[in-house]
């Protein structure tokens, strides 16, 4: 194995172009409302990056990423909700000082597992630890028993279904169908005005790049190579003496943590968290973000999340009837016609031409616009 630098030249250029789009082009071109919307799309990109690692590199398709996204989001939402539910703000309730939906459901004291979320430090840790622990339990149980492929997909989907039913059913503790709404401030800083949303957009973007770099480092490392080898010939890797299950558990936990960070940023930017973002349908849509971008391409995942969500907003605004047809066709097309997604199209059609104009890479066409 030759010693290579961390980024190849084309990867560095790709990262720079993505940074230009996210940090310069979007904030300059979009108004505050649209920028917030794109920030929401970018929070989904975290999940897509995690899926590229799990599915594209590791061959583990999880249809329950919405659960981890939701866990991160709910942790953040619980903290924000507690901050918003001061005794003064909730004086009209029969029990002031607890979140409003608890009061509506005749709960008179804050449940014990809500109490640590009064602390911001605990919340930040929980955003990482809770989903990772949950993913570890699932991964440990399943990968140790060599459950993989479609069985894993079905079981994670069932877990997404269970999570939704549980959240909706226990509305006194979770806010039910409506979720946790009416979030106001983060450590006294109002998150609702446009200025705050712009700040959050940049925080989100920086975190996303952090995730991207971590994911690239994982892909480049020896670990990443073992992962790919495992996807292609699991038995050979096992016979070579690697503990396949541990590798899978680790990458599944990493994917879950990335999804959770996305979820927390989603809550901050959108201002609520609800079970509609946890269930089966959103979870499988998260897979399509990754598939459209190209299941093997980390940067493609970001473009995929942006493009699909942008298309969803645009089409469901103007042609609500057509959107499901479009999304359905997208699922089929991305599997049958271009399994490597946008990144594959870029490699096949644009890259060869790019070589001709090497002198002016700045005007290079981008994979997704």
């Amino acid at each position: 194995m030759t010693k290579t630098s961390f980024l190849t030249r084309s990867e560095a250029v790709g990262l720079a172009i993505l940074a230009l789009i996210i940090f310069v082009a979007f904030p300059v071109m979009l108004d505050d409302f649209r920028l917030n919307l794109f920030g929401k799309y970018l929070s989904y990109a975290f999940v897509a990056i995690g899926l590229v690692l799990c599915w594209g590199a590791g061959g583990i398709l999880s249809l329950g990423q919405g659960v981890f996204f939701g866990l991160g989001g709910y942790c953040m939402a619980m903290f924000l909700k507690l901050e918003a539910s001061t005794p003064e703000a909730t004086a009209i309730q029969s029990t002031p000082g607890i979140p409003d939906f608890m009061d509506w459901n005749q709960i008179s004291a804050l449940p014990i597992w809500w109490q640590p979320f009064n602390s911001f430090a605990f919340t930040l840790i929980a955003i990482f630890v809770v989903p990772a622990a949950f993913a570890f339990v699932i991964g440990y149980a399943m990968f140790r028993r060599r459950v993989s492929g479609v069985y894993f997909a079905i079981i994670t989907q069932a877990i997404a279904a269970i999570a939704t039913i549980l959240i909706v059913g226990q509305q006194g503790y979770t806010g039910g169908v409506n979720g946790i709404t009416d979030l106001r401030t983060l450590m006294g800083w109002d998150i609702r005005p446009d200025g705050a949303k712009t700040v959050l957009y940049f925080v989100n973007a920086i975190l996303l790049f952090g995730c991207l770099v971590v994911a690239m480092a994982i892909r480049k490392s020896k670990f990443g190579r073992v992962l790919v080898a495992m996807r292609d010939a699991e038995d050979r890797v096992r016979f070579s003496g690697y503990d396949v299950a541990s590798f899978k558990i680790f990458i599944f936990c990493v994917g879950a943590m990335m999804a959770a960070v996305g979820g927390a940023m989603f809550t901050l930017q959108v201002g609520f968290m609800s079970p509609t973002i946890v269930g089966i349908v959103p979870s499988i849509e998260m897979v399509i973000f990754c598939a459209v971008g190209g299941r093997h391409s980390l940067m493609g995942a970001v473009y995929g999340a942006l493009l699909v969500n942008w298309a969803k907003t645009t089409f469901s605004e103007s042609f609500p009837e057509l959107w499901l047809f479009g999304l359905g066709a997208l699922f089929i097309a991305v599997v049958m016609a271009f399994p490597n997604g946008l990144a594959g199209l870029f490699d096949d059609y644009i890259k060869p031409r790019l070589r001709g104009w090497r002198q002016t890479p700045a005007t290079a066409p981008q994979p997704a616009e």
Binding site: L63, I138, M142, A158, A161, I162, L324, F325, V335
Partner: protein, 308 residues
């Protein structure tokens, strides 16, 4: 918990609850049979299975309306016509889908999952455009209405009995097809060893298409049966898909008996728990137990002995 009920009342409640469980069992069996063929035998994940059921339900709705409008005298018999048409419609669509999509993806099961999910979205929107977003119900024929009084306290609805009989009948038919017919032998041969099956002269492509078609057709019949106990909406199918897959996986994918046994245990557990807890918690606990058992025993209840 039981205070306030007299002994005969308690007996009646348990009987009725058990019967509700049996109806749920029939529903699960009907849903899972088609999937047991497609997933259990072919290993194809068909996420659009629910939509094939709903297609059958809408066919029944159309047939019942047609009978009401043109042949009111024969209205009592419409269901049997509808059942056959539902089988044909879902089966035909299934064969077209297999030809256009599934056959290219046999080597990539996870991709099949995504593609059929896309198909299910398209079918849902098609139903919505054709029949409207609201749920539709069919008029149940006269002879299926009412209930059989067993004792003073226990009454058993006739449509529930009918669905149970239908579930038993279709299970028997699927059993005969799979294990007692030439076609079933071919299907099992192709799943166990595709190359060898081809070598002894089985047209494997045709067998695949027929298997997928029949699996979808059975789903269509299940959909027709559903109209007798509930209404149908464009997204009704999606609500069933997780339950159905769990039933099949829990039973041990390739075992028909396992599918029926798991449908029985899941449905009974759920309806008994429903009596003690809220409906949603009953469902959560049942599903959690099933998922938990599957984590400990991934091959399901009844597994074929395989060397891995």
């Amino acid at each position: 918990m039981f205070s306030g009920y007299s002994l005969p009342e308690l007996g009646a409640i348990i009987t009725m609850q058990g019967f509700a469980g049996l109806i749920l069992f029939s529903v699960f069996v009907l849903m899972a049979l088609g999937l047991a063929i497609i997933f259990g035998q072919m290993g194809v994940i068909n996420m659009a299975h629910g939509e094939f059921m709903i297609l059958g339900a809408y066919v029944t709705y159309l047939v019942s309306n047609a009978f009401a409008a043109y042949m009111p005298a024969l209205f009592g018999a419409y269901f049997f016509v509808a059942m056959v048409l539902a089988f044909c419609a879902s089966g035909l669509l299934g064969m077209i889908v297999e030809w256009a999509m599934i056959r290219h993806l046999y080597k990539r099961p996870l991709d099949t999952l995504l593609a059929t999910w896309g198909l299910s979205l398209i079918l849902q929107q098609t139903f919505r455009s054709l029949f409207g977003a609201r749920e539709v119900g069919v008029t149940i024929p006269q002879w299926m209405m009412g209930s059989l009084p067993v004792t003073d306290l226990i009454e058993i609805p006739i449509n529930g009995i009918f669905v149970m009989v239908l579930a038993l009948g279709i299970s028997a038919a699927v059993y005969v097809m799979m294990y007692r017919s030439a076609w079933g032998r071919q299907v099992r041969a192709v799943t166990q060893n595709r190359v060898m099956a081809g070598a002894v002269g089985i047209d494997t492509e045709r067998t695949d298409r027929m298997t997928f078609g029949i699996g979808c057709g059975v789903a269509g019949v299940a959909g027709a049966a559903f109209t007798m106990i509930g209404s149908t909406g464009p997204t009704s199918g999606q609500a069933y898909i997780v339950d159905t897959f769990l039933v099949v996986v829990f039973g041990g994918a390739a075992s028909l008996l396992g599918t029926i046994a798991s449908a029985f245990s899941i449905s009974q557990a759920q309806s008994i728990l429903e009596f003690f807890l809220s409906g949603s918690m009953a469902k959560v606990i049942t599903l959690l137990v099933v998922v938990g058992i599957l984590m400990l025993r991934p091959q399901g209840l009844f597994a074929m002995k395989l060397r891995k």
